[in-house]
Amino acid sequence: MASAFEYAPAPESRAVVDIAPSYGLFIDGEFAEAADGKVFKTVSPSTEEVLSEVAQAGAADVDRAVKAARRAFEKWSALPGSERAKYLFRIARIIQERSRELAVLETLDNGKPIRETRDADLPLVAAHFFYYAGWADKLDHAGYGPNPAPLGVAGQVIPWNFPLLMLAWKIAPALATGNTVVLKPAETTPLSALFFADICRQAGLPKGVVNILPGYGDAGAALVEHEDVNKVAFTGSTAVGKAIARQVAGTDKKVTLELGGKGANIVFDDAPIDQAVEGIVTGIFFNQGQVCCAGSRLLVQESVQDELLDALKRRLTTLRLGDPLDKNTDIGAINSAEQLARITALTETGEAEGAERWSAPCELPSAGYWFAPTLFTNVTQAHTIARDEIFGPVLSVLSFRTPDEAVAKANNSQYGLSAGIWTEKGSRILAVANKLRAGVVWANTFNKFDPTSPFGGYKESGFGREGGRHGLEAYLDVR
């Protein structure tokens, strides 16, 4: 070999996970076929290999699951909090024990790199259950009055970008507060939720407390609409979020929505440049940019723009795109053909509207859904790619001259989920953070998550918060 340090393939073993050829719906503690017998295939986005065939829930299944959850609610909500806590601690521990298996599974079904599922998704999933386990017997101390009551049956619909983590964000607080759950995972990533069903059984969780219904949008809509659902929690697109908001109008259903974003990552001229570069990379290329809080708009102060972009491009050439199961892969596959088409279309719009495209030089595998890390310069507020959520590894670079201008541009969006601020000056961080209309503001870091920290958006990024003490409110009757 020549002087170059070529990393040999370092694939994580697939043998740690045993995927069955087919899976049922998980209702009332049992796996069952769909009432109408429908199934769908889930594929590995990095190879297009069919991983398994999964029962597809319809309205009748939704009804059955909601009824099971309703039956389970009475006993579950009447359990002492300390007992509910112990179930959740058990779940947290089993997730920790099975985390490598689940990480490999998630990587196969979602396409994201094993480095992320192993080092980010799974530790956060376990921590989330661990955190909310501790709340179950402490609700009196949470600031929602004495003996706060659960809502009842929670209908939860989650996306494909962090399948198990979004499940944890939904289920852990719901159970801790005494609700029961019917959860619909996304149609492209149903497997980890079904493995979670098995974990519920291992933990001895009473039947019906957690029900998992793989399916498509129609099942999600049926769940949201079901008259015996007391709480709707949705993470996904703003368009669907608006549809849900219309659906629940006039009902007593409590709703929380975590929707899209177009996060501004603002780099001032006194930023710690090397760390800012890392933060920009994390902000937009973590999980192939398929992150609602991605820092998809880079706002850079003009005086450091050239220096920063040079450093950023140099850094992007070191990103390793390929087999998501390889431990050295930084950029995995796009989750689906549909999502790839959307990213492709939006980047074409970007070029058509006159923005300058630069993509990291990397070879894309022939099978599967792939998109090279890409950035656009010469982008203005008027460009589509500065306004619409791309949900892919595509960064739009805009510049600013003064802090006021940075704030004005950052806030000039229908969304308001996340933002980043890079400067070594503390008072600037706090002043800018004050002015930003965004639910999460990261300073000198990006895409950090913790179960103790509330997460959620302003404006069309949704409402309600998940995580932390604040996340309890979404599942408690505090009217």
């Binding site: 112990k86 501790g134 179950a136 402490k138 002043a431």
Partner: protein, 299 residues
């Protein structure tokens, strides 16, 4: 196993700095069950053992208080897991110590295990419950957060040798303090056995140090010790509590007084948060958010 097999007795030892020393004094005292039958000899700690325990607790403080709250929660939960596996031993020791039936002792041990779980959940929540941002009238970010006070001397309750013991240790260490614990004088065996559980629960050595012996003899040097930050007087009688509180005033230790005699401690009751907050300091940080300039810009 045959009935006439001669059993192996256990030598009970102190738990200091993650190790199991005998008392430096070489003394032991007889521990009996509630009916006066000899159970074992326990180390009778001296003031030098107390001194060594404070050194160990201080050494452990940086790492333990600096660990993430999540990590401390995991460790406390691990204690519960390990206790669950050694339940039989503790049921026997508690039954002997407190004169309880097996089933009553089992209920006590169950409650003690659940108490670890309760406090495991508090490690990463107490900050959100007692801390927070303060809306000061000015261009400042202002945040109050609780921090552990340091090394806490804990006089464990004399009667409740295990549930009471756990109920005073767990809240002290949950928030990041380290502890020097004086076990119940007459019933120290569950406490000394707890040391063995703590040693195998990922709890760093020195975070909890367990001493057995005459309460006043050990507590007196701890109460006046200049490197002890707080003292929990639960296990002191009225006279001793007053003496110790006076001694503690020398370096203004935080003092948690024993509960009033007439309100006999019910260790099964909901513990609330007062044992957590008793050993917390509140730190408030001010930071400008950018002065308002002549143009009205706040950057």
């Amino acid at each position: 196993m045959s009935d006439n097999r001669l059993s192996v007795f256990k030598t009970y030892k102190l738990y200091v700095g993650g190790k199991f020393p005998r008392s430096e004094s070489g003394r032991v005292y007889e521990v009996t069950d509630s009916k006066g039958k000899w159970l074992a000899n326990a180390p009778q700690s001296s003031r030098k053992d107390a001194r060594d325990a404070v050194v160990a607790a201080r050494k452990a403080f940086g790492g333990w208080s600096g660990a993430t709250a999540y990590n401390r929660g995991q460790v406390l939960y691990r204690v519960a897991e390990m206790l669950e596996g050694r339940k039989d031993q503790f049921v026997r020791e508690v039954a002997d110590a407190e004169g309880l039936s097996k089933s009553k002792a089992a209920a006590v041990v169950d409650a003690a295990i659940d108490r670890w779980v309760w406090y495991a959940g508090w490690t990463d929540k107490i900050g959100q419950v007692v801390g927070g941002a303060n809306p000061v009238a000015g261009p400042f970010f202002n945040l109050s957060t609780p921090e552990p006070t340091g090394v806490v001397a804990v006089l464990a309750p004399q009667e409740s040798s295990f549930l009471g013991l756990v109920s005073v240790i767990a809240p002290v260490i949950a928030t990041g303090n380290t502890a020097v614990v004086i076990a119940s004088a007459d019933s120290p065996l569950p406490a000394l056995s707890l040391g063995e559980v703590l040693a195998t629960s990922d709890l760093p050595g020195g975070v909890v140090n367990v001493l057995s012996g005459r309460t006043a003899e050990i507590a007196t040097p701890l109460a006046s010790h200049q490197d002890v930050n707080a003292i929990d007087l639960t296990g002191a009688d009225t006279g001793l509590a007053k003496e110790l509180e006076i001694a503690a005033a020398d370096n203004l230790k935080r003092v948690l007084r024993p509960q009033p005699v007439d309100g006999a401690a019910d260790w099964t009751a909901d513990p609330g948060t007062h044992r957590l907050t008793a050993f917390l300091e509140t730190k408030t940080v001010w930071h400008p958010t950018g002065a308002l300039g002549v143009s009205g810009s706040s950057y």
